[in-house]
């Protein structure tokens, strides 16, 4: 359970600040989840907590006892990701994947799962205990499980109890600006926190003054709020630039809730969101669900049209330079947020300003060797890994100027790896070339929609690899990225 939920519990006067503090201490001393600590301390029952989460986040609360999961469904989410994020894929219906989680507040996680599986994620709330039981049953989870922090899709959480308690206190006292300044937490929490606080503040002001929020006294605050909201959504937009590139079935999503959540993050036009934010505030503040609904319509229209039209756009024409901030990096823990930083050695970038580091992601050792040999001859430094997970964890070390990705990879396919890398604010400019035996139109379109900059069909000659590397790493690579490949 995350701080966002703790904040909501305090805000709703379901729990006191003291109770939360005590539970946090218990959590850290006993290595348990905050929800477990609260239940163990008797401050809330599990059904009460689940009911609260379901209502707060507008997702169904279900019981999964005696529910069996097909192997095919389980394989959609790698065990390490399921364990680290405490979730279980339950079933597939068409293009929708129902995922049980104890913490539905993590919208970025929902979107990452969307990228990872290629399915529309329908989150449902289940008890922490049930999740752990199923993780044990299906993924062999044990309490002393290896730390998968490097693989985690979760952004960094709170490490410092004092900082956390201070933030809660600040929150309880209603000093939102302090919270925003002091918080170093993940983007989605921050975004929701800001929203909720705006709604709260608006609610308070409206009830106190019994007038709409148009007075001079509040105008300044509203402006600040808008700036804040736009800023955070801007970050999220950068992270999920691929919203436009998702499959058509995702665009015509049947799951309104999930779609609205995704769109909440993905809002492609901060102006739309700003208007909605203001609207929300003027209406006295709504729940997160209502907020999402409110922004759904204008965004849906944009996404639908852009998503379908994007197939005809020039290859990789959707790299968007907006909102490139350090905070975007927080969604991919393993990646250096300073890339390409001052840590980049002179060897990484040659005198012509070309980064000749190449990362090859292919599970064939022969192909790894072939590409390495061909590119080494031309002065490229090649690092090769066998799967997407390994690739994500080594991006920071390799600092590639070009990435080759095989489509058929274990755990997650090349498209998904490409999407994840391209969703990282500071890595999205790195050209990606997909390698595949498939050279059909559909695969090229899928590569393109995943954000790839080029495609090479196997079998390939050394000259094709070298030519592609030279084109994409040349000093005018920016032009290629924007659609000249």
């Amino acid at each position: 359970m995350k701080m966002q939920i703790a904040k909501l519990l305090v805000k709703e006067d379901i729990l006191s600040l003291e109770q939360i503090k005590e539970a946090i201490e218990r959590k850290y001393n006993s290595d348990m989840e905050l929800s477990e600590a609260l239940i163990e301390l008797g401050y809330i029952t599990e059904p009460e907590l689940m009911d609260f989460l379901g209502k707060s986040y507008g997702v169904p609360v279900i019981s999964i006892e005696d529910h069996s999961v097909d192997q095919e469904v389980l394989e959609l989410i790698p065990s390490e990701i399921a364990i680290e994020n405490r979730l279980i894929p339950l079933s597939i219906t068409g293009s929708a994947l129902t995922v049980a989680m104890s913490d539905p507040s993590n919208l970025i996680l929902v979107d990452k799962l969307n990228f990872l599986t290629g399915k529309n994620i329908i989150p449902v709330v289940v008890s922490e205990r049930s999740i752990i039981d199923m993780l044990t049953q299906y993924y062999g989870y044990s309490k002393n499980q290896t730390d998968f922090s490097e693989l985690s899709l979760k952004p960094t959480g709170y490490d410092d109890i004092d900082e956390l308690v201070r933030e809660l206190e600040v929150y309880k006292n209603g000093d939102t600006s302090e919270v925003d300044k002091g918080s170093n937490t993940e983007v989605e929490d921050h975004t929701q926190s800001t929203l909720t606080q705006e709604s709260l503040h608006a609610e308070q002001v409206e009830s106190e003054n019994d007038i709409p929020l148009v007075s001079d006294a509040n105008e300044e605050h509203i402006d600040e709020s808008e700036t804040d909201v736009i800023h955070h959504v801007g970050n999220d937009h950068g992270i999920f630039e691929d919203s436009e590139t998702q499959d058509e079935d995702q665009v015509s999503n049947e799951s309104g809730d999930v779609f609205s959540q995704n769109l909440f993050i993905n809002a492609p036009d901060n102006k739309d969101f700003a208007e909605v934010s203001e609207d929300q505030i003027q209406n006295g503040g709504d729940t997160l669900e209502e907020t999402n609904k409110a922004i759904e319509e204008p965004v849906e229209l944009t996404s639908s049209s852009q998503g379908l039209n994007s197939i005809d756009e020039p290859f990789a024409a959707r790299v968007e330079p907006e909102f490139e901030t350090q905070q975007q990096a927080s969604t991919l823990d393993a990646v250096d947020t300073n890339y390409p930083s001052s840590e980049t050695t002179p060897n990484d970038i040659n005198s012509n300003g070309i980064n000749k580091n190449v990362l090859v992601i292919d599970n064939s050792r022969t192909v790894q060797k072939l590409i390495t040999l061909a590119l080494n001859r031309q002065g490229y430094s090649v690092s090769a890994v066998s799967d997407g997970m390994e690739a994500l964890s080594c991006l920071n070390d390799v600092k590639p100027g070009l990435i080759f990705i095989e489509i058929n990879l274990p755990h997650m396919d090349g498209y998904q790896v490409c999407k994840i890398i391209k969703s990282h604010g500071l890595m999205k400019q790195v050209p990606i070339i997909m390698l595949s035996a498939k050279d059909g139109l559909v695969d090229k379109v899928r590569s393109k929609m995943a954000g790839a900059n080029g495609n090479i069909s196997k079998p390939f000659a050394a000259s094709e690899l070298v030519e592609a590397a030279q084109r994409f790493t040349s000093s005018n690579a920016t032009g290629l990225i924007s659609g000249q490949s």
Binding site: S364, R365, T366, V367, K369, L370, L373, A374, R377, N408, A437, K458, P459, F460, A461, A462, S463, L465
Partner: protein, 196 residues
Amino acid sequence: MLSDKSMKRNIIALNRDNEETVNQANDKLGKVSSIVSDEVLENNLVRLLSEFDQHLLSLNKKVEKEPYAAISILLIMLNECAEFTEMVMKVETETEFLANLANIASDKYSHLRLLHVRQNRISDATARNLYKGWTGEKAERHLVFKEISSGMAQILMSYLSFFSSSFNDSNTSLQWDDICEVFADDLDQSLQSLSY
């Protein structure tokens, strides 16, 4: 002429006594291959090996449902090697290098004789008919076809060894030896799990 080093490698690869046949075949090919530039050879060899990698992928996928597919895929790879010697290394079809290598390998893998080599190409018609019309014990069939696939892999590795030894630059040769070794390991691993 091929260097002593490359001839030695071929002999080791074939693990047999009749060096003369191999040397003769190598001599004929070696004279021609010396005119192929390292750059051209490497460019095409990258393509060949990346194609072989795809064959290996389909071998791993298909053989569970259709065990004989492994023989067919190996055969395709051998014929591609034969074609490579003609198209890239400009060796004449009459050289019958493939027939020579098959003859040599059949000393160790006698059932290789079920494969027919004609005009520097190999056909598996007899072997395929034998497999499909097999009336004996399945265990025996497994042994026969396991031997055929091992023999074909042996010929394939002799080809690759020859290609890698044909580079004018010795360092390049060593690098290609390394790549071929990696491919050989993967091929061997795939063949080990075959059940005919």
